[in-house]
């Protein structure tokens, strides 16, 4: 049995079926990300003045990731164009570039996540707050048993508000030191994970979902680059359409990042 309209266009829609399918899927994706962006806006405007963090993310890493995704959009398009003009070697090259760019993006994103995961805010018994990156926990460190010490590279502040705007002149000029804190001095210790505050919750949700899309897209592109490319030999037109469909998905994911980057990193 032959699957209809994999190459030919349906007369009523004017599209081959896979293209119609991916656009319907992308429409549902717009609703998914649109809902989360709306949540971000509502959460942000409902914060009291000074309650929303600024400068918590590394703009340089975000910029590099933006460049990587922009380049990957170009290589995806070139891979499709190479298929269109029946240059299989070029297709292989451009799609390999897309995969490498995507993996680099995920690597950088993992590094950013790790950086947040080892960043701790510690409420001290004297009412001050120690904030910084974890260097080490002593072998016997246990908050429940009140044993051991934890060492951070960061600073101590009087008030939580001082940690909210890291672009402020005071935060920029703050001196970071190594601090060793005994468990007996710790009232509460929490890393900058999703449950730290509203910003980290929406940041991890939005970027995590986006990273999952990048990962899924990379798997599909890898399949089409590797074992799936056998179809090119028997039905090049259908294979080219598959590349176009995967390219449409990839462009959508890149487009989401174009909105995520300024919203999360620059504002």
């Amino acid at each position: 049995m032959e699957i209809p309209y994999t190459v030919q266009n349906r007369p009523d829609t004017g599209l081959y079926n896979a293209k119609l399918g991916i656009w319907l899927f992308l429409a549902s994706e717009v609703m998914l990300f649109g809902g989360l962006f709306s949540a971000y806006i509502l959460l942000r405007v409902s914060q009291p003045p000074g309650g929303w963090p600024h400068g918590w993310l590394d703009v340089r890493l975000g910029t590099v990731n933006t460049l990587l995704l922009a380049l990957s959009a170009i290589t995806t398009l070139l891979a499709w164009a190479a298929c269109k003009v029946r240059e299989f070697g070029k297709f292989k090259f451009f799609h390999a570039c897309t995969i490498l760019l995507a993996l680099t993006f995920l690597g950088i994103k993992s590094y950013e996540y790790h950086d947040k995961w080892i960043h701790y805010e510690i409420q001290l018994a004297n009412g001050k707050i120690a904030d910084g990156h974890l260097i080490e926990k002593s072998a016997d460190f246990d908050l429940a048993k009140i044993t051991g010490t934890v060492t951070l590279h960061g600073r101590e502040v009087e008030n939580h508000v001082e940690l909210m705007d890291l672009r402020s002149p005071a935060a920029q000029s703050a001196k970071l030191d190594e601090m060793t804190i005994p468990a007996s001095d710790i009232k509460k210790m929490e890393n900058y994970g999703p449950r730290h505050n509203t910003f980290t919750a929406i940041y991890f949700t939005l970027t995590g979902l986006h990273a999952l899309h990048i990962f899924g897209g990379t798997l599909v592109i890898f399949y089409l680059w590797g074992p799936g490319s056998k179809l090119y030999k028997t039905d090049p037109e259908r294979f080219t359409n598959r590349i176009e469909v995967s390219g449409l998905f990839w462009h959508f994911v890149d487009l989401v990042w174009i909105f995520l980057f300024p919203v999360l990193y620059l504002t």
Binding site: L15, L77, G247, H251, F252, I258, P262, L266
Partner: protein, 72 residues
């Protein structure tokens, strides 16, 4: 029932989507430049403008290069 002729088939193509992507990337580049200037980072602001111009040049080049590949 009257069906549309074949040339309509190339609509909603990757080429058209890429053009939207390039347009938004241009807006992002100039937006980043404005952000950098407002934050007093003039070098990065200038880089943002250069990036925006580069993306526009690429967009024009891309349209010319892929003229024969498909309609928008």
């Amino acid at each position: 029932m009257i069906f549309r002729p074949e040339p309509q088939a190339t609509k909603m193509s990757l080429k058209a989507f890429h053009l939207i992507f390039v347009t938004l990337l241009t807006a992002l580049s100039f937006g980043c430049a404005a952000w950098a200037f407002s934050a007093g980072k003039n070098f990065w602001g200038a880089m943002g403008i250069v990036a925006g111009i580069f993306v526009i040049v690429y967009g024009v080049y891309f349209l010319k290069k892929l003229k024969r590949i498909s309609y928008l």
